[in-house]
């Protein structure tokens, strides 16, 4: 199983999905080091 602890995470969220900072919060609280957070907006 993939272990997020110690991983460097690129969080790619979307405005009408799970936004980047929400994805990043999950990753960092799982022990990962978030290295990039982006939220896409396609409209």
């Amino acid at each position: 199983m993939m272990d997020l602890r110690g991983k460097k995470v690129i969080a790619l969220g979307e405005r009408d999905g799970v936004p980047g900072p929400a994805v990043a919060e999950c990753a960092s609280r799982a022990g990962a080091d978030v290295v990039l957070t982006l939220t896409a907006c396609y409209v």
Partner: protein, 494 residues
């Protein structure tokens, strides 16, 4: 507008709304995405031409008819899809909320809005535009607007393009229609492209404002004291990029001689902030009548065109949009803008979806003793899915309505299996062109005003969202919601 013998509140009302479209297939090439992609295409004119609609097709397109108020949102939900293959035979150019202006006339309007003589039109086009626009019921010659200057020869256009770095404006068939000069030789914020975007924004906002002022019983232009523009275009020069002020330019053009104004910026959420502030100016007693306007986004034309080309369908992002709203003191008739039930995405609301939707939807309703089930219709993001889905961008309104319905489940107002039912009855299909700030809830405003005065609606909620993170100054989104209520609906409670 007739006044009834009902005690009026100190809440502001939405007195009038106008919503306009300008069909501009020739300008699709100048949208940000097409401009970048077409550089790599060998024959861009031939590549694009089969996908560009004529005005007839744009006028009879069901979502556009909903936009100007000729067709209801429930009628659109029942209309056969794909909408681009199922035109409305009897579709009118004008509707109760505004119009769909053909391209020739819009070029005339652009020229009439250009106070610096930077836009030059081809001679024939200028003549056609003048003839048509002079007879226009709202922005005709008698409206007092500036005249459309004579066009120029092809030689003059060529020289402006070659020697003075004017932006060529090319028709769908490849013919040169005009050229837009830069405002300054060395200023990246005043190039022909930037100025054409800003001029298109001014012209669509001005058209919407003239429609608003031409309504029976409308406010006199001289009584408009404050105009807020909430379009997204950045008007300014290199020392104050985006400094403003489109509102004043639009007020001037529309003949609001005693108005001043300013621009409200909050990405696509700008209109919600502007309506809130307009309501506050009225309720606070500073002005009795405030107008909120916004023009269209040329940069967003053809934003998803690659998906439309790929699916062999017309490029439906070929219209610029504009709107104007008159916010005034309570007239006893018009829908109330409840300034006590404004939903705010606060800084601490962050990006977590649950916190965001609570802040926007349930918290403001709860504050005045209401729940999600007390709202007949929600206007959220209203982007036309026929524009976004072919490009893989999904059905934005549906996603947003499902999220709202899921909040109703979390709040134990509906059962999980009733999500679809909630979406169908309290939501609506997306029908707005992908014009950013305008697609964000605003296009339902005309329908809501009618439904809340003449129809069966009691309460509607409008929520706008802004993607602030795109500007790279914060990771936060933005959002603001407003409740519009039938006048007198809250008479006993307040």
């Amino acid at each position: 507008m007739p006044r009834v013998a009902r005690a009026t509140s100190d809440m502001p009302v939405i007195r009038a709304v106008s919503l306009v479209l300008a069909h501009v297939p020739s300008l699709v090439r100048l949208g940000s995405k097409p401009l970048r992609v077409l550089r790599e295409i060998e024959k861009p004119i031939e590549y694009l031409q089969p996908h560009l609609r004529d005005w007839e097709a744009a006028r009879t397109y069901a979502p556009n008819q909903v936009f100007i108020g000729n067709l209801g949102v429930d009628e659109l939900a029942a209309w056969p899809t794909p909408w681009h293959r199922n035109p409305i035979a009897e579709a009118g150019r004008f509707g109760p909320d505004g119009e769909i202006m053909p391209e020739d006339e819009f070029f005339g309007l652009l020229a009439a809005c250009d106070g610096f003589d930077l836009l030059a039109l081809d001679r024939d086009l200028a003549d056609r535009a003048r003839r048509a626009l002079d007879a226009h019921p709202v922005v005709g010659r008698e409206s007092g607007r500036p005249a459309i200057r004579a066009g120029v020869t092809a030689g003059v256009l060529d020289a402006r393009i070659a020697k003075h770095r004017a932006l060529p404006i090319v028709g769908t068939d490849g013919r040169l229609l005009g050229a837009m000069l830069p405002g300054h030789d060395e200023d990246d914020t005043l190039t022909g492209q930037v100025l054409l975007e800003n001029l298109a924004c001014k012209a669509t906002a001005a058209l919407a404002l003239r429609h608003l002022l031409a309504r029976p019983g409308a406010i006199a232009s001289a009584d408009v004291r404050y105009v807020m523009n909430c379009g997204e275009e950045a008007v300014g020069d290199r020392y104050q990029r985006g400094g403003g002020n489109v509102a004043k330019a639009v007020a001037e053009w529309a003949g609001c001689a005693r108005a001043t104004g300013s621009d409200i910026k909050a990405f696509c959420c700008g209109p919600m902030h502007a309506l809130m502030l307009a309501g506050a100016l009225v309720r606070g007693g500073l002005h009795d009548d405030v107008v909120v306007v916004a023009g269209g986004s040329l940069a967003k034309l053809g934003m998803k065109f690659q998906g439309h080309v790929k699916h062999a369908m017309p490029i439906v992002e070929d219209v610029l949009a504009g709107f104007a709203v008159h916010v005034s003191r309570d007239d006893g008739v018009s829908p109330i803008l409840r300034t006590d039930a404004i939903g705010r995405h606060e800084v601490a609301s962050g990006s977590a979806p649950l916190a965001v939707v609570k802040a926007l939807y349930s918290e403001p309703l709860g504050r005045v003793g209401l729940t999600l089930l007390d709202v007949d219709r929600f206007a959220l993001e209203l982007h036309n899915p026929e524009a976004t889905e072919p490009a893989g961008s999904g059905n934005v309104p549906l996603n947003n309505y499902r999220t709202l319905a899921s909040l109703a489940v979390v709040e134990k107002l509906i059962a999980r299996e009733n999500i679809d039912d909630f979406v169908r009855t309290r939501g609506m299909p997306g029908f707005s062109p992908t014009q950013g700030h305008i697609a964000s809830a605003i296009p339902y405003l005309g329908h809501a005003r009618r439904g809340l005065t003449e129809g069966r609606l009691t309460r509607t909620m409008f929520a706008g969202k802004g993607s602030l993170f795109l500007g790279r100054m914060t990771q936060l989104p933005d959002g603001l919601s407003l409740v519009l209520e039938r006048n007198g609906a809250n008479a006993g409670a307040a």
